[in-house]
């Protein structure tokens, strides 16, 4: 049986209208915001493109060795990074990396305070939680449309979409980490006359740190995944290579770029995860 056509809500029209209204009213604001973000990103990108490749490879090698605890992991992480250069994708890789770094920095700057706010009251949790659920279940491509409309083509909307996609884990896990802190320890802090901020900084955040770091790890991984998709709206990098390869059905080119993304994902994941679990012990 067909659903009656006259029972119909024109939600698409409403959303379009709302979007138009936002653009007309806050266009200037978004332009300014976009410029600000762009400068921030360009700064980071410049840094990574300037960074001599041996320095980065050596740095990653040593860092992996220290946090993963074996020289072998240090060597293998460095080798993977070296391989990206061997494939001739170093520069594109650095662009991707800088986009990831920029979006993670902003995600954490937004996510950790939001997580703290969410942990501080059940009402806040009640408001933020469904929003996060929505953000995570919505197909990631959908974010590209408003990002495109607000900021046009290029790096800024890519970053914007990436942040929306990547920020929920760090918010959630900051919230969970703080709420997990044993009530008796908080009670003890209160009994000694601590203020809200003293409890937050001296008790809750230090104890929630391992959980928050897991959130940082997840946010980073999601940012990397989204950066690839964000290439569709003009972010240069490895994702764009994959996109071009798909369009032109160049399997080899796509494979190379895909492999580099996997390597980058492994490196970032291992290092950030080891940092998170190291603090847990």
């Amino acid at each position: 049986m067909k659903f009656p056509e006259n029972i119909n809500i024109p939600l698409d029209v409403w959303v379009d209208r709302a979007m138009d209204w936002v653009l007309n009213t806050f266009g200037g604001f978004f332009d300014a915001l976009g410029t600000l973000i762009l400068y921030f990103m360009l700064y980071i990108e410049k840094f990574f493109l300037w960074l001599p490749w041996p320095v980065l490879i050596l740095g990653v090698g040593i860092l992996s060795w220290r946090v993963l605890g074996s020289w072998w992991s240090g060597v293998s992480m460095a080798a993977m990074l070296f391989f990206i250069g061997v494939l001739g994708l170093w520069e594109l890789g650095m662009m991707t990396l800088s986009l990831v770094v920029a979006s993670v920095i902003i995600s954490l700057a937004i996510g950790i305070p939001l997580g703290i706010a969410m942990a501080s009251s059940n009402r806040m949790q009640g408001i933020i939680k469904p929003l996060l659920d929505g953000m995570q279940t919505m197909p990631s491509f959908v974010y590209l449309i408003p990002a495109l409309m607000l900021f046009g083509l290029g790096k800024v909307p890519a970053l914007f979409a990436t942040i929306i996609y990547a920020v929920p884990p760090v918010i959630r896990l900051t919230n969970v980490g703080i709420r997990e802190v044993s009530a008796s320890v908080i009670e003890a802090a209160h009994a000694f006359g601590s203020s809200y901020w003293q409890i937050l900084f001296k008790v809750q955040l230090p104890l929630a740190r391992p959980t928050i770091l897991v959130g940082v790890n997840q946010t980073t991984m999601m940012a990397l995944a989204m950066v690839v998709i964000a290439s569709m709206i003009g972010a240069k990098g490895l994702g764009l290579e994959v996109l071009l390869a798909i369009n032109r059905i160049e399997v080899g080119r796509g494979f190379e770029a895909g492999l580099c993304i996997v390597f980058m994902a492994i490196i970032i994941d291992r290092i950030t995860f080891a940092m998170a679990s190291e603090k847990k012990q």
């Binding site: 320890v185 009670e187 003890a188 802090a189 009994a191 000694f192 601590s194 008790v203 104890l207």
Partner: protein, 413 residues
């Protein structure tokens, strides 16, 4: 001096306590109120004082409201009604900020599950209270070290709490409260999570420590033996109400009602009962300066005893037996000096009964209870000790005790 005064304190859990309060005042029970209003009664109409420098033990079974009560004192739990006056100031009336300062200045707290900060080393746990007061690093470190030394944790400063045993963790908890130099210590079942041997050690150490620091301590416990050992006075709670308050001995020998009596039943009375409570009045007494052997014999005969204490100018001098008196009388001696046995066992009035058993087993004569000034207060014979013990441990057998309890009980449910 009264340090803490609690007056008509109520704590009702739930959004609308007014109705529950009304029902409570109409005499409804805790369960009844829970069923009808969905409100829990934590503390109901509690009034008592804590004197400066004493250990007051608030005792009751779980759910009796004792932990709620102690949290109302420093307002970790907001009381529904009533007054909590500490150092003359009503804690229930002060604002949030003043409350924080008040806690910093006056309350050290020790928790059942230790509640240490797991991410801080032992010394940083101990200095926490001073750190949040903004005391500078060297000063607070010094105070923390001193507190740790007091609880016997010198050398463990840099350890993390999870590297320590339960007993040591609670020492850290104690040091954290001591380092503050607050005048009041709130101890919420501080030793309940420890195994019995460690618990006993900690109790002994708390008593020693208290001699030195002289804090006002409110100690929560569900263990009557602990309450008796530590408490200068005991407040006994049931279902949010205070059922009896007084010294250990008052409560034990004179339970206010059946509930207290049942609670008290399990206690090892021989630790609680003192020589003074079990001694018999000593009516027959020979006087060294006036009585000869014949007079002494006559007194013994009259009282139906085989030996008699001898005193001179109000002080106990010794004992003579009937046999020795008869021999002396036969020899024609005129006074008791020659046959006086001065090597007699005496005990102070506050000696616990369990220390009396071995003495009674060794001594052929009754044990004399002698006050500090040498004055004979009474005697203990094995029979009277056992009789008294069985009487207080099985109140239903001692009918006179029940009657006494009914007439003298001040607070009843």
């Amino acid at each position: 001096m009264e340090k803490i005064i609690i007056e008509g304190l109520y704590k009702i859990f739930g959004p609308h306590p007014e109705k529950a309060m009304r029902m409570l005042n109409d005499g409804h029970s805790k369960d009844d109120i829970m069923e009808k209003t969905r409100h829990g009664v934590g503390v109901a109409d509690a009034s008592f004082v804590v004197n400066a420098g004493e250990i007051l033990v608030v005792m009751g079974l779980s759910g009796s409201g004792k932990s709620t009560l102690v949290r109302c004192i420093n307002r970790l739990i907001e009381p529904t009604a009533g007054k909590v006056i500490v150092n003359g100031e009503d804690v229930t009336r002060i604002g949030k900020k003043e409350l924080r300062h008040f806690r910093q200045k006056h309350f050290g707290m020790v928790f059942q599950n230790f509640a240490l900060f797991p991410h801080r080393s032992v010394v940083r746990n101990a200095e926490y209270g001073l750190e949040i007061q903004g005391v500078d690093t060297t000063k607070r470190r010094e105070a923390a070290m001193q507190a740790l030394e007091q609880v016997g944790l010198k050398g463990w400063e840099e350890s993390m709490p999870d590297q320590l045993s339960g007993g040591m963790q609670q020492r850290v908890g104690l040091a954290r409260a001591l380092a503050l130099d607050a005048d009041i210590m709130l101890m919420d079942e501080a030793f309940s999570a420890l195994d019995p041997l460690i618990r006993r050690d900690m109790q002994d150490e708390l008593i020693d420590l208290q001699e030195k620091v002289q804090k006002t301590i409110v100690f929560i416990s569900h263990d009557l033996d602990e309450a008796i050992k530590l408490g200068d006075r005991i407040v006994l709670m049931k279902d949010g109400f205070i059922v009896q308050q007084g010294t250990a001995e008052e409560i034990l020998t004179n339970p206010a009602n059946d509930y207290v009596a049942r609670f008290v039943e399990g206690v090892d009375m021989s630790k609680v009962i003192t020589a003074e409570t079990v001694m018999k009045k000593y009516e027959a007494m020979a006087y060294l300066s006036t009585d000869g052997p014949k007079a002494a014999l006559r007194k013994m005969e009259k009282a139906g005893i085989s030996s008699i204490f001898v005193r001179k100018s109000g002080k106990l001098k010794g004992i003579v037996t009937a046999r020795a008196c008869r021999a002396a009388a036969d020899r024609g001696e005129k006074n008791l000096a020659a046959i006086l046995d001065t090597d007699i066992q005496t005990v102070a009035p506050d000696t616990p009964a369990n220390e009396l058993f071995p003495l009674l087993a060794e001594e052929p004569h009754p044990v004399a209870v002698v006050a500090e000034d040498g004055h004979l207060k009474g005697v203990i014979v094995a029979g009277s000790l056992l009789a008294k013990l069985s009487e207080v441990t099985n109140p239903e057998n001692g009918s006179d005790l029940d009657a006494e309890a009914d007439s003298e009980s001040k607070i009843t449910v």
